[in-house]
Amino acid sequence: MPTIFEWEKPLVELEEKINELRTFVYEQGIDFRDELNDLERKADKLRKEIYERLTPWQRVRMARHPDRPTALDYIKMIFDDFYELHGDRRFGDDQAIVGGIAILDGEPVTVIGPQKGRDTKENIIRNFGLPHPEGYRKALRLMKQAEQFHRPIITLIDVVGAYPGIEAEQRGQGLVIAECIEQMSFLEVPIVCIITGEGGSGGALAIGVGDRVLMLEHSWYSVISPEMCATILWKDANKAPEAAELLKLTSTDLLKFGIIDDVITEPIGGAHRDHEGTGRQVKAFLRRHLSEIRKISVDELVNQRLERFRKFGEFQAKKLAETVD
């Protein structure tokens, strides 16, 4: 059973009607062309209405749609070849993060991304896409390797957060996130980060320090999930929709803030309704941005990357009057 959001229902009903009519036309040979055109116009209008005024919370839910493409889906759609590499060389192979070497337009690149499962069984193997420290250490190892061989790095980010478990804490979840952020910042290769679904806090930033940070239209990126924010503010996780509003976590907001560089538009109805279309979009955006930053010398690239993050933040110098009093 595919997941259908309540706001999609009128559209889905209309689409079903259209399909029924089409079948009818096909089977009976009666000409309903005008009616069909009319209905399709209606559907187009409805689509626009629905998807142009999605609330932040609705977009969060779209980012979490169970049929949304995962990292491995994108890898299959975008690249000509892929060889997955495993392990952190220290403790384990975290299947919540996949990574390896892929070919884009004949050139090798390193691709890394948290991997959600498609069903319960896979989700258990993938720990629902929530990485342990060894996952981040694998990512870091592969990023360092990419640097060694001058391969660009592409990260596909879809992660609610680093796993908050006992063993994860034991093995230094906070420390490894800091190490990833710090070391990724200085890598002498082009880095494109694409938030494809959820961009949850430090667990996303750990693989999110890029020369270009792109976001799919209906993805979110925030310091805290709406549910957790609502719990803190109002002791009520059900007020997540209101929190989503406050947090300014949509691609639209983040583009305005300059936190991200570009929004990758999704096929109407969202990525989950059209994988191939989404894959083509992501590939086109990736190609464009990557070819732009490939032209920059690595020294300059690292400088720009550092400057980019250096300037984030809003504050004022304290007024002199206050200082004196």
């Binding site: 908050p164 230094g172 952020i181 430090g202 990126y221 803030f257 809003e314 504050f315």
Partner: protein, 289 residues
């Protein structure tokens, strides 16, 4: 150098239960009633006479638990005769137009007499010049917004410019300043990169973790020290213990996320009591001249 503090700190801070540290903490608790003369130790439950506690640098003399200190008290503890030249003060903006945030800032400025959750500047410790930053838990749980991030970055940049070591005393409940949303998250990158630049300049960064150092502060500059020390029993980790318990539905080990646990699991270099902290910092600075 200046003696920058006009007012002696008025308030001591006490540790409350682990549960409430996780969510946003209310910071320093002024002891409003004059007759409230005693404080209960969170770790061993002993009742301690407040004057005794203050005299003992807010360390429980029964179990060694280190109560929270304000940044100013910490500064007095660590610096040579409070020799400290603060950086230019910065105050928070409200980048998300988060409702009530400016009022919250004003409230905590009033309570703590600080501009923000960090005190930072050039200091002298045991005769050695350094950049010293201290996070104050009393200011919105010691969380990192744009100002804390900027000041930390400036601290490391100042260190590079003047070839000084940097000492940061961290202690933030949840790490991030939720009200600044994505801007708060970006401070993790900004500060981690500042440390990275500083290290690549061959300079020495000593990170000191006090109770509690969690979330985005732990997962950025606080855990990137060349040497990392902690106060006894300080809570150190990424996810808060309540979230871990909820997520895993497991009973947490009794010493979970304590400094002792971090030491055992290889995450810190050592545990140093409050009374030995200044001398230890001095020694480590002397090793890195």
């Amino acid at each position: 150098m200046l003696h920058v503090f006009r007012n002696k700190p008025k308030y001591a801070t006490v540790r409350t239960t682990k549960a409430d540290q996780e969510v946003e903490a209310n910071g320093a608790q002024p002891r409003k009633n004059a007759d409230q003369l005693w404080t209960r130790c969170d770790d061993c439950s002993s009742l301690i006479y407040n004057k005794e506690l203050q005299k003992n640098r807010y360390v429980c003399h029964h179990c060694g638990f280190c109560f929270r200190m304000s940044a100013v008290e910490r500064l007095q503890l660590l610096t040579d005769e409070c020799m400290f030249t603060p950086f230019d003060a910065l105050v928070s903006a409200n980048p998300l137009d988060f409702p009530g945030y400016p009022e919250k800032i004003a409230h905590y400025q009033n309570i703590t007499q600080l501009d923000e959750a960090i005190l930072i500047g050039e200091a002298k410790i045991e005769g050695y010049s350094c950049v010293l930053g201290i996070i104050d838990f009393g200011f919105i749980g010691g969380s990192m917004g744009s100002v804390v991030g900027e000041q930390i970055a400036r601290g490391f940049e100042h260190g590079i410019a003047k070839e000084l070591p940097v000492v940061v005393v961290s202690g933030g409940g949840g790490g991030a300043r939720m009200q600044e949303g994505i801007f708060s998250l970006m401070q993790m990158a900004k500060t981690a990169q500042a440390v990275g630049r500083f290290k690549r300049a061959g300079l020495f960064y000593l990170s000191i973790l006090t109770h509690p150092t969690m979330g985005g502060i732990y997962a950025s500059f606080a855990s990137l020290g060349d040497i990392i020390l902690a106060e006894p029993k300080a809570l150190i980790g990424f996810a808060g213990p309540r979230i871990v318990a909820q997520t895993t539905r497991q009973k947490l080990p009794p010493d979970f996320q304590t400094a002792e646990y971090a030491l055992k699991h290889g995450m810190i270099d050592g545990i140093v009591t409050r009374s030995e902290m200044k001398a230890t910092i001095g020694k480590l600075l002397s090793f890195h001249l």
